[in-house]
């Protein structure tokens, strides 16, 4: 789950990384008592869970005289369709130079990867493409709690020495907060020293519990409902509902729908060992989306028992057509139960998908 800017800044501030003076306001009135501490000029930044908010009008400049008016204007805006409920009001920095710093998980080396460049101020993707030699990289041994000093010296190079401790503190934050990404972009130098002008932290969804995060904000209501049942669920914009077991098989089913010229409305992965009640909940959840005209169930029994699946489909009792492909453990019994109730069962995933595409064409 992605932390909001003010949350990420509180996290790195607690770790000892300097951030600009700022306050979080939920209405324009809350700005008044703090206007003095923000200095003559300040920045108002909408705290919305969406990327590219600057270009979408979510960041405005203000000063003592215009502060209230600009805050009112920003609260009235929608940023990429999202209402502005919180604004971070922040001291405007006197920026001399911009740097880029991030720590992420590197699949290839299976270690945290630290990226630093002195060539900040432009889109980092552009630098990566056109001048990869300007980006310094280092991987960290995950068994060490801190970065060794030589690694920090290599990363910092000719940049100001004060950046060294920032890198080490961000690394410790990355480890302690179970982050998949910890990014400061830009990290800036000012006459008053080094500051993190922006911060982004993504917390591992598998570690939310031990990080004390109870609600995953990145999910929609229906996705959250699905998560409660232990399903992974994604909404799309076609007419075919898809239920599978295992992410790979479910994805392959979606690909096959596209191959035959159809479009999926959503997909739900019931996971392994699905009992009848879980399957019933899965079918009902997928069927609850109004655009779903037909549901493809494609289950291959590993841990999953086909008779349990059949019972779940029957118990769901939904109005849409269900086309089923079942194979694996207790397959014969599953088939018998379904055919008794008149459900359509086909032998391969190609056949069920083709049929569903025909029905919705």
């Amino acid at each position: 789950m992605k932390l909001r800017e003010h949350e990420a800044k509180n996290v790195i501030k607690a770790a000892g990384i300097p951030v600009p003076a700022g306050i979080l306001i939920r209405s324009p009135d809350e700005l008044t008592p703090h206007i003095a501490e923000l200095g003559d000029a300040f920045v108002l930044k909408a705290q919305v869970d969406v990327g590219g908010r600057g270009k979408a009008g979510g960041i405005l400049m203000a000063d003592k005289a215009t502060g209230m008016k600009v805050a009112k204007e920003l609260f009235a805006r929608q940023i990429k369709g999202l209402p502005v409920k919180e604004i971070l009001a922040e001291q405007k920095l006197d920026i001399q130079h911009e740097y880029y710093l991030s720590i992420t998980v590197d699949r290839s080396s299976k270690q945290p990867l630290i990226l630093f460049t002195e060539a900040g101020g432009v889109e980092i993707e552009v630098t990566a493409k056109e001048h990869p030699e300007l980006i310094r990289k280092a991987v960290a041994n995950p068994l060490m709690k801190e970065l060794p000093p030589f690694l920090i010296r290599e990363l910092v190079g000719t940049a100001p020495k004060e950046i060294g401790p920032v890198i080490n503190k961000l690394y410790k934050t990355f480890i302690e907060k179970d982050a998949l990404l910890a990014e400061i972009n830009p990290l800036v130098s000012t006459p008053q020293g080094i500051f993190a002008a922006d911060a982004k932290i993504i917390v591992d969804d598998n570690a939310l519990g031990r990080q004390g995060i109870t609600v995953n904000r990145d999910l929609t209501d229906r996705e959250r409902e699905a998560e409660k049942h232990g399903f992974s669920y994604v909404e799309l914009d076609g007419k075919i509902g898809v239920i599978g077991n295992g992410a790979g098989l479910t994805m392959a089913t979606l690909d096959l729908i596209e191959y035959y010229g159809g479009k999926a409305a959503n997909f739900l992965d019931v996971g392994g060992g699905a009992e009848s009640e879980r399957v019933m909940n899965a079918v009902r959840l997928v069927a609850s989306v109004p655009t779903v005209k037909v549901i493809v169930v494609n289950l291959l029994g590993g841990i999953t028992k086909c008779d349990e699946v059949a019972k779940g489909i029957i118990a769901a009792g939904i109005s849409q057509k269900v086309i089923v492909r079942l194979a694996g453990t207790n397959e014969a019994e599953g088939r018998r139960l379904l055919s008794e109730k008149g459900y359509e069962m086909l032998d391969t995933m190609d056949l069920v998908v083709k049929k569903a595409v025909e029905v919705t064409a």
Partner: protein, 292 residues
């Protein structure tokens, strides 16, 4: 076979849990069928002295190692305890560790893998179905009835999609040497490169089916690393764009990772890529026909 055979004694960590108990039963039923040793010991802290399907349970891996000749371990413990289980087994000297457990925080996985590497152990997974060498050994949860002995190796990031491919191969009369599910997490132990290196040394394996997914570029790294003939399938062509890992993800993977560009790179490297799972058997036959 790779990673183990009929003579390999297997330990199950998390033996007394629901999944552990269920799969000890299935693994030993398979061992009985092929005349293998199968699961010889279980471990659950605090449950030492119990038995599961006649298999003795110990408190620690080292206790089990004193009594049995063990070459591999399969982990069924909950996510919070799985990294510790990997490290305990690696430290006790077990060579092959299969971690079935899913939802392990990635920081835990990185630490456990770094530790296991230091101890010289090979970790398969986490979040994987394990491996099966038909006629020899099953370590994990793959449904054995779908498999047939032969000379095609299968490596996959998926679980059930692997069974689907194996089912298609077997129905077409194409048997398998070893099928390895390497796991669906961003950070995994044995990658395509590692498993392909084992297949190259395995006289039984003549060709490999490589089943990948969106994300990362480990499929391409694998394809480049081997001289074995390969057929590939990549799931996720129609998948909605993944939640980007901020700027850093885009840099690390250099814009790689989506299914279409992955398929394009594999094809550029001369690897035939199936657009449907059901096309795989015919493409494997074609590999054997042209002898390439």
């Amino acid at each position: 076979m790779i990673y183990g055979d009929r003579k390999t004694g297997v330990l199950v960590q998390g033996a007394t849990g629901k999944q552990g108990e269920f799969h000890i039963g299935l693994m030993n039923a398979y061992a009985k069928q092929v005349g293998g040793r199968g699961v010889v010991a279980g471990v659950t802290p605090g449950k030492g002295g119990q038995q599961v399907h006649g298999v003795p349970v110990y408190n620690t891996v080292k206790d089990a190692m004193k009594e049995h000749d063990i070459g591999a371990a399969v982990i069924f413990v909950p996510a919070g305890a799985a990294a510790d289980a990997i490290m305990e087994e690696a430290n006790a000297g077990i060579e092959t560790i299969v971690c079935i457990t899913e939802h392990i925080p990635v920081q835990d996985t990185m630490r456990a893998l770094a530790y296991a590497k230091m101890e010289g152990a090979s970790v398969i997974g986490p979040n994987c179905p394990g491996l099966l060498s038909p006629g020899e050994v099953k370590m994990g949860i793959m449904p054995a009835a779908l498999f047939k002995t032969g000379n095609v190796g299968v490596i996959s990031r998926s679980g059930t999609l692997t069974y689907e491919v194996v089912d298609e191969l077997t129905r077409a009369g194409i048997g398998q040497s070893t099928v390895v599910g390497i796991g669906g997490d961003p950070v995994i132990g044995q990658t395509f490169v590692d498993v392909l290196a084992r297949f190259e040394k395995d006289p039984q394996t003549k060709a490999v089916v490589l089943i990948g997914e969106v994300g990362g570029n480990l499929e391409e790294e694998g394809a480049k690393s081997t001289n074995l003939p390969i057929v590939s399938y990549i799931a996720g062509v129609s998948a909605p764009p993944d939640k980007r890992m901020g700027h850093a993800g885009a840099i690390v993977e250099g814009g790689e990772g989506d299914a279409r560009s992955k398929i394009a790179r594999l094809k550029k490297h001369g690897v035939p890529v199936a657009s449907r799972v059901s096309e795989i058997p015919e493409m494997v036959r074609e590999l054997f026909r042209c002898g390439c």
